[in-house]
């Protein structure tokens, strides 16, 4: 449990945070300048606190009333800033070992899990944005932190799916029991990773709750709503070069067709991403449509925000719900409500395949064993 109750001066307004965070992963969201990065810096000890208290379980990091301020080097907090913050004068391996404490096996595990072994002798300047983020994550993990702070990995970059960090974060979440605070602009990422969202606005906590519940909060930015994705774990079932598709079997047995990715071996684990606005919703069985993926589902709920609606659909009882983003007009016209029977259609081209599998899909002991 991370207990925050403090005030810190910022340039334009004070940061006043009061929240108890108990989820393994908490997503920190909010518009630019809301104080997200400042919150992480305050917890890491890199930003001075005027008054208040910060504690992780029984470890009190700051308590101004008691005159306690633990310096950053003794807080055991792993911090990954937006641009990764690698030391440019050190090779990848030296970066990872910079603050390493504990067993060499743990460091090796971090290097394996983030698949950066082959990069060891390179300097940061020669790495791609996604590689830098993974090195920064490994460097933070190697210190065996009691809390990981991740500031919008890749937000500043043009992110191709190949570069996605989310699958690695899922791996870390599931293999290290290190709690995380994760700043993101994307509700889909928040939903895939985090049990809870802390929504900041003007230096204060505007809302705290489950990721999807926040879609109804007016304070959530437009871009946050627009970026919602369904991130689903699965494995490659087969390729059909003539038809130009690859079939991916998702957890729970559903099969989706995606634009062919012949380089991925059969049975290899993958993550597929489908943007919520790319999911078509029909109230009758679909015929004569070009979309390759059509599934029957039941509406479980509709989260309405200003000017849009996110429909939660259950395809099977044992499969994660899918999200479809519609206009309120479309919801009204189709007469959608909880319990409605619907058919969801997705074009193969709208389904993208991410490189690394989420941890759950990887048998333990085979993590990240990729030839250099």
């Amino acid at each position: 449990m991370i207990r925050l109750d403090f005030e810190a001066p910022l340039a334009r307004f004070p940061l006043r945070i009061r929240a108890d965070l108990g989820a393994p992963v908490t997503a920190v969201m909010g518009p630019s300048g809301a104080g997200k990065t400042s919150l992480l810096e305050a917890i890491a000890g890199l930003r001075a606190i005027a008054s208040g208290r910060i504690a992780i379980d029984d470890d009190v990091l700051v308590d101004t009333a008691a005159g306690r301020r633990v310096p950053p080097q003794r807080r055991r907090i792993g911090y990954v800033p937006q641009d990764a913050g690698l030391f440019p004068h050190l090779r990848v391996r030296e970066n990872v070992l910079f603050g390493a404490r504990g067993a060499a096996r743990d460091v090796a595990h971090a290097i394996d899990a983030l698949e950066i072994g082959p990069l060891g002798e390179r300097y940061p300047a020669s790495l791609s944005g996604g590689e830098k983020q993974r090195v920064a994550l490994a460097r933070a993990l190697a210190t065996r932190p009691q809390l990981l702070l991740l500031d919008e990995p890749l937000a500043a970059l043009d992110v191709s799916l190949r570069e996605r960090i989310v699958p690695y974060l899922l791996r870390i979440r599931d293999e290290w029991s290190t709690p995380m605070l994760y700043v993101t602009h994307n509700v889909g990422e928040a939903r895939a990773l985090a049990g809870e969202v802390l929504l900041l606005e003007g230096g204060r906590v505007e809302a705290q709750g489950a990721p999807l519940a926040l879609l109804a909060t007016p304070g959530l930015s437009r871009e946050a709503r627009a970026g919602i994705e369904n991130l689903l774990a699965g494995e490659i079932e087969g390729h059909d070069p003539e038809g130009g598709v690859t079939r991916v079997r998702l957890e729970g047995g559903l099969v989706v067709s995606v634009s062919i990715v012949p380089e991925r071996p059969i049975a290899s684990a993958v993550t597929v991403a489908i943007r919520a606005e790319d999911v078509l919703v029909a109230t009758e069985p679909v015929r004569g449509l070009s979309a390759r993926n059509v599934y029957e589902a039941v509406v479980r709920g509709i989260e309405r925000g200003p000017g849009d609606a996110t429909v939660r659909c259950a395809l099977r009882p044992d499969v994660p719900e899918w999200l479809a983003r519609l206009t309120p007009a479309a919801v009204a016209e189709l007469g959608l409500e909880e319990g409605s029977r619907v058919w969801l259609a997705v074009k193969s081209h709208s389904v993208r395949v991410a490189s690394a599998p989420p941890a759950r899909a990887v048998p333990s002991g085979e993590v990240g064993t990729r030839p250099p």
Partner: protein, 225 residues
């Protein structure tokens, strides 16, 4: 070509310049490190004091040094009692050149330290470094080129120091005479050709110092890129 006596002057000049630079290197780096990232009146005052030798007439600095270290002062007489003579001795040359080149080193190092991304230093802190360790593992390695440039500048400045040296150490051939003093001395005696030879040697030394620093900096840049 320089004569045997002139070579001795060249060697003496190189030796005192190197010694003076070595003396101010730790002090200058420490001063720059303490000033870096600080704001407020204290910083301004120290900045100004450290920069004074740059703008004062070197002879004025020489007078101040002479007043501080001559045998007439308590400090000077205490040093003399301990067997250390500063004024009109080679140690005075080292001191004068060191004081005169100190600001160049501090300013270069300060600029270099302030160009290091403070977030990298912060990250080093979260990775277990105390302030001093973060300085030696992150700030200094990232700023070393600026520190080197400042050191070379300081060294080159020391090679050519004249005013403060002549005030504090005098122009004693074979004892306190550096290249700059010898050039002046030769023209006074009407030996303009000897002065030209010495000036040429001085220029060559300064060029070599600056060029080698530049070359080292470039090689390192290529490797890290």
């Amino acid at each position: 070509m320089p004569t045997r006596e002139e070579w001795a002057v060249v060697l003496f000049t190189l030796r005192v310049a190197a010694l003076g630079t070595a003396m101010i290197l730790p002090l200058g780096v420490a001063a720059a490190a303490l000033l870096a990232g600080r704001r407020g009146p204290g910083r301004t005052v120290l900045d100004t004091v450290f920069s004074l030798p740059l703008v004062l007439p070197p002879t004025a600095v020489g007078v101040v040094l002479l007043d501080t270290f001559s045998r007439a002062t308590p400090l000077g007489s205490a040093l003399a009692a301990a067997g250390i003579q500063i004024a009109f001795d080679w140690k005075g040359v080292v001191l004068a050149t060191a004081v005169m080149s100190f600001p160049l080193l501090v300013r270069s190092a300060l600029t270099a330290f302030e160009e290091v991304d403070p977030r990298l230093v912060g990250l080093a802190r979260t990775l277990g470094c105390g302030p001093l360790q973060a300085f030696f593992r992150v700030t200094l390695p990232l700023a070393w080129r600026g520190v080197l440039a400042g050191t070379v500048l300081a060294f080159a400045r020391a090679l050519g120091e004249f005013g403060a040296t002549v005030m504090l150490a005098g122009n004693i051939p074979g004892r306190t005479q550096t290249l700059a003093l010898a050039i002046f001395h030769e023209t006074q005696l009407g030996h303009d050709d000897r002065a030209r030879v010495l000036a040429g040697v001085t220029a060559l030394l300064a060029f070599l110092a600056l060029w080698s620093a530049e070359a080292v900096g470039r090689a390192r840049t290529r490797r890290a890129a």
